[in-house]
Every structure is written in C-alpha cells, then in structure tokens.
Amino acid sequence: MFKKIMVPVDLAHVGSLDRALACAADLAAQHGAEIVYVGVTAPTPGAIAHSPSEFAAKLAEFAAGQASQHGVTTTSHMVQSHDPAVDIDKSLLKAVADTGADLVVMHSHKPGLSDYIFEGHGPYLAQHAKASVLLVRD
C-alpha cells in the first residue's frame, strides 16, 4: 500500500519522537516500504550541527541507526531553510514532493490553547500534502 514513508525529525528533540519512530518502523516493515527521515536546518551553526553538510551527515547517521534498530530500509533527506522557525511547514511540504513519499508519519502534541493561535505542523501537512498523513500523539 505504501512504498515510501516520510518521517520528519527534529534532531534536537529525538527523545519525544519515540512513538512516531516506532509506528513508522512498524508500518514500513508491514508494507515493505522505505523510510526517509527529513530534517530541516538553517545555514547558520545551530545546536545540532555547525554547517548544513554536518547536519546532513548527522541525519544520515540517525537514519542508519534507525535502520539497524528496526531492521527496515532507511534514507535521509535534508532541507535547508533561511528561517526554519517560520518556514518549517513549507519546507516539509516541499520535502514530501521532493522525496516522493506516499505516507507521512509524524509526531504531534495533544491539541492545546496555542493551536488556536498557531496551527501545528502536522495539521498543516495533513491539509496541504498530496500524501497520506498519520499524526502520532504523545
């Protein structure tokens, strides 16, 4: 049913992604799909990496780690953004198209007050992406 599953990851907060990562791995194993982990970075040095190329290397390393942990095929895809705090939704939307993913599995927090002001990243993707979107609550 699904051939390529995209999983957006925030490398700075990997701990909170456990459920989404496990869910994506299960689905990938079940459907024989490949997982592509997508990370968004600014060109400036940040908490994760000092440069975009270092970020890409870290993301690839993460994908390899997931592959050996869950026994599924994984790749990684970095998106560079001038202003990730604002552009992340559009960056992820573009990544869906660029990677050709047919399912997006992503972590999503429980809806709260702030969701009335700022739309969450998950709902945005569900509304705009051509692929199916599965939001995994904490």
Binding site: T44, G46, H50, S51, P52, V86
Partner: protein, 577 residues
C-alpha cells in the same frame, strides 16, 4: 540516541574552511521551557539581563526625566568631545582595513566554505542590507544635511570658510559654488565609505566566525581569537547583553523620533487648521503647531502601534516571507522616488553634484577624517563624532543582519557589495535630494520652503516634504515619502527583532517565533511609554544619548573584530592551500 552523536567529530562546512574545535554546544546555556502555550528557548543570562536592563532604564527616564536627560547628555557630550580622535582614528582604520581585503588574496575566501553557494540573489541581498542599514537615515537627512552645511554658520565656523547664505540672502556665485562643493563633500563623508566600513567589519567578523568557524551567530564569537573558551562565560555575556541592549534602545528611540517625522508628513499632506492659532491637526489630532505644547502624543503612539503591527506581521512571516519581501518593496519605492526627483528636479545640476561631490569627497576626505589638531570642533563633535558613534552603536544590529544573509559570498564580493556599491548609492541619493534642495534655496531664496524649514527655522522632520513640495506632483510624492518612511521603520523593526532574538537565544536562529514577537512588541512599547511619559521626546533624547555613548564600547569591540578577521582569514587561507 542521536542526541549523543552531536559531539562526534565536526565535518567541515561546504568545502575547505578552518573550523574552530570547541566543546561548546550552541544552545547549551539556553533555557528551554514553556509558559502556558508560549514556548521559550532563551540564553541564560543574556535574555533576562537585557530585558531587565531595558525596563530599568525606561523606568529611570520616566521617574527622573530631568536627571537622566542631563546625565546621559553629559555622558554623550563627554564621549564625543574627549574621544573624538579615537572614533575618527578607528573609523579610518576600518575603511583602510576593509579596502585592503578587496585587493589582498584573502579576498578569495568564501563565507561558508570554499564550495558554499550564495543564499540570496544580488537584488534581494542588496535590498535587505540597504533597508536595514540606513534607509531611514537617507529619508531624514537627505535634504537636511547638505542644505544645513550649505546655508548655516553652524558650529564655530562655516565649513571651508564659505557660506552659501549670508544674512538671509544668497551669497555671490563664487562663494555659493564653494559652499555647495563643501556641503556635498561633508555630507558624503558621513554617508560614504566610513559608515559602510563599520557595518562591513561587524558583518564580516560574524559571518566568518559563524559560517567558516562553526561558532554561534552572535557578537561574542568574534572574540574567540582573543578570549578563547572564556568567550562562553562572563565576558561573552557582557558583549552580547550590551549588543541586545544597544540594538533595542537604538531601534526604540529612532522609532519614537521617526513617529514625529511620519506625523509631520501626514499633517503636511493631509492636515488642516492653522499652526499660528494652534489648530493645525491631522484627523483631529493636534500636530505641527507653532506652540507645540498641545500637540498630540497620542498620534505618535498610534503611529508607533501601526508600525509595530506591520512589523509584527513581517516578523511572523519570517526572513523570506516578511523581511525580504518588505525590503524589496522598499527598494522599489525608494528607487521610484529617487528617479522621480532625479528626472523632474534639476537633472544636470544633480549629475554635476554627483560627480563633483565624488571629486570633492576625494579632495577633502583627508582633512575631514583627520583625528588630530582640528579647529572645526563644532563640525567635528556636532556631526562627525556623533555620526561615527551612532553608526557604531547601530552596527551590532546591522552587522548581524547583514551576516545572516551573506552566506556563500567571497570576502571580496562581500566588501565590494557592502562597502563600495552602497557608498555610491548614498552619494547619488545625497546629490539628488540635497542637490535639488540646494538649488531650490539658491533660486527661491527665503521664499523657498527648504530655506524656511532648514535655514530660517530648524525643522528637520519637515525638510524632505518642503523639498518635494516645490516639485510637481507634490501631493503624490509626499504620500510616497510618508509610506517609505513607514516601511523603512517597519523593516528596521522586524530585522531588529530577528537580530535581538538571535542574540538573546545564544545564536540560535530557530528559536520559537513567540520570542521575536516579544521583542518586536517590547521595542514599540518602549518607544510608546517614553513618549507618553511626562518628559515626552526628552525621554527619547536621553536614552538615545545613552545608546550613542555605547558607541565608545563598541568601537573597541570593532577593533577586536578587525584583529579577529585577520586571524580568521589567515587560517582560512591555510585550509585552502
């Protein structure tokens, strides 16, 4: 977990670059938390200390307006008169240093590693650095400064000994020509190579240490060659806190003064009533009266609120969707106004002021920038040192912003585009606006609006509108000018909020958007509170004086940055070999 991979080796940026090996992780001193629905990711203690310092100084200016005004003005005047040589000498050094970078082999070092590609196209890059750098100053001083030098015996002697206006009457042609030449030279001196070299040094130091060395995009990183690992401790906090503090007050005070220019422009174009009778108003808000005591500060606060609201939208839309778009609109409109005045005004005279101005600038730059044994202290302290301290106190903000958008350029490209091209554009702007205004004074004498508002009475915020008023289509161009002043303030305000947010988040550019919203509102709030206080614009005066005094500290910071750039580029060159 992948978190643990962070410290395992540091691959290079794209292509060769001399990355600095440090155990410091960007964001390690940050506090990540949330207050209700608002997420925070702020540097401890830079965020807290800067915010509290701002509140304390605003409180001081409100509680003891007279005392703080006298004290801060005294400090500013002391700094300007005692350290004039230090400002001039340093600024000359910055120009020479920047120009040397163009011709030496260091010019080929690329920001972001030898294979990095530019983040922004030339037009977008140029629009952003111009809008943040000095757009608003060009609107304010474009007419004022050349005419003022031309027609008033300010300071202790007329510049160059020639006055264009003597006893309210236009002087003889030879004297007029000489006064005009010196007025252009002195204006260009303040808007040409020196200010842009100041910005270029800060921007280059930050870009180099961030993109090539892998350090956080914040002021302290340029001190790494001098302080080493200590830069992450106390002294680094001091530098970053002062930068955030100077940026916020610099923006807030100029926003306050800018509101008066917008109010004057609006009243000039749309106002009604009589200024002598105290009934001059814009939509019922009293403004622009001879006796200004009843003029409405509520109007100013509404203007500040309007500018802050647009800035807020821009900040929420981010760097590409907000700041870049507004900067481009800005450049388009400014270009429109510039070419309108150029073609409708005395085109041949403007061209001669442009080329003559460059020639006069070249002839006079040495005496004008001479730090020692000067006799024209009125000009030196009243204008040159004031400008240098002002540009320098503004440079952490503009420099950081330029650095943010300059990845992928070579050092040579960078200096040419941040130093030489903007200087030429400024010269052209001054020749167009100043040259047209001087011609109006010469032809119209005391009948001319510019004469009445700059030479006869000193009303700087009116000067631009007075010049446009004597050209055709004044009602259209004046509206365009008001819109431009507003958008220039919006672009300063939104790019400023991005910069303060990055500094107070320890160099992280992906901190939650709520933080920029905070700084943007805070900045407008500071300006509004100061205006509503009993002291009115006196509160702005005193805090602006304080900001300018910080220029002394930042001059020393810039000197260290020159050293840092030198050291940084040396290692880059070694990496490339």
């Amino acid at each position: 977990m992948a978190d643990e991979t962070v410290n395992q080796g540091i691959p290079e940026p794209e292509g060769a670059a001399g990355i600095i090996e440090t155990d410091y992780e960007i964001g390690q001193d940050n506090i990540e938390t949330s207050i209700g629905p608002i997420k925070l990711d702020i540097h401890n203690p830079v965020f807290g200390v800067s915010a509290v310092m701002v509140i304390l100084f605003v409180a001081l200016a409100l509680i003891a307006p007279e005392w703080s005004r006298e004290t801060f003005l005294a400090i500013r005047d002391y700094v300007k008169s005692q350290f004039d040589w230090f400002f001039l000498l340093s600024a000359n050094l910055f120009v020479i240093f920047a120009l040397l970078l163009v011709v030496t082999p260091w010019g080929s070092v690329r920001l972001g590693g030898s294979e990095a590609e530019p983040d922004y196209s030339y037009p977008a890059w140029f629009a952003m650095l111009f809008a943040a750098g000095m757009g608003i100053g060009l609107m304010f001083f474009g007419v004022l400064e050349p005419v003022y030098y031309f027609g008033t015996p300010w300071g202790d002697q007329p510049l160059g000994g020639s006055l264009g206006i003597v006893d309210g009457v236009v002087a003889d042609p030879a004297q007029v020509a000489e006064a005009r030449r010196m007025a252009m030279a002195a204006t260009i001196f303040h808007w040409g190579l020196h200010p842009w070299a100041i910005y270029a040094i800060v921007a280059l130091a930050l870009a180099l240490f961030s993109y090539n060395k892998g350090l956080p995009l914040t002021l302290r990183s340029a001190f790494y060659p001098l302080l080493g690992e200590r830069v992450w401790g106390f002294w680094g906090n001091v530098i970053d806190t002062l930068a955030a503090f100077a940026t916020l007050f610099g923006l807030a005070t100029s926003l306050g003064f800018g509101a008066t220019q917008v109010a004057s422009g609006l009243t000039d174009v749309f106002g009604a009533g009589n200024s002598e009778e105290g009934t001059r108003n814009f939509m019922g808000f009293l403004w622009g009266n001879t006796d200004a005591s009843n003029d409405s500060s509520l109007l100013l606060v509404l203007i500040i609120a309007f500018i802050t609201a647009i800035a807020l939208i821009s900040v929420i839309r981010g760097l590409d969707g907000g700041v870049k778009v507004l900067s481009e609109i800005n450049m388009g409109l400014a270009g429109l106004l510039l070419f309108f005045v150029f073609f409708i005004g005395p085109t041949a005279v403007i061209l001669s002021d442009f080329f003559g101005g460059i020639k006069a600038y070249a002839q006079e730059i040495v005496p004008l920038s001479n730090p020692f044994g000067r006799e024209d202290t009125g000009f030196l302290h009243g204008w040159t040192t004031f400008y240098w301290a002002w540009w320098i106190s503004w440079s952490p903000f503009v420099g950081m912003f330029i650095a943010r958008v300059s990845r992928g350029r070579t050092v040579r490209e960078f200096v040419v585009c941040v130093l030489l091209i903007p200087s030429l554009v400024c010269i052209f702007w001054m020749a167009t606006f100043g040259g047209t205004a001087i011609s109006q004074v010469i032809n119209g004498g005391n009948e001319s609006g510019v004469f009445q508002n700059v030479i006869e009475a000193y009303k700087p915020e009116i000067s631009l509108f007075a010049m446009l008023g004597e050209l055709p289509l004044a009602s259209i161009t004046s509206v365009l000018a008001v819109v431009l002043v507003i958008i220039f303030f919006v672009t300063s305000s939104d790019s400023g909020s991005l910069v303060i947010d990055t500094i107070t988040a320890g160099g992280k550019v992906d901190a939650p958007v709520s933080q920029r919203i905070f700084w943007c509102i805070f900045e407008g709030g500071v300006a509004a509170v100061l205006l509503l206080g009993a002291a009115g614009t006196a509160g702005l005066d005193s805090l602006q004086a304080m900001v300018i005094s910080t220029g002394l500290f930042f001059t020393a910071v810039l000197l260290v940055m020159c050293f840092a750039i030198f050291r940084g580029l040396m290692t880059e060159r070694q990496e490339m070999k």
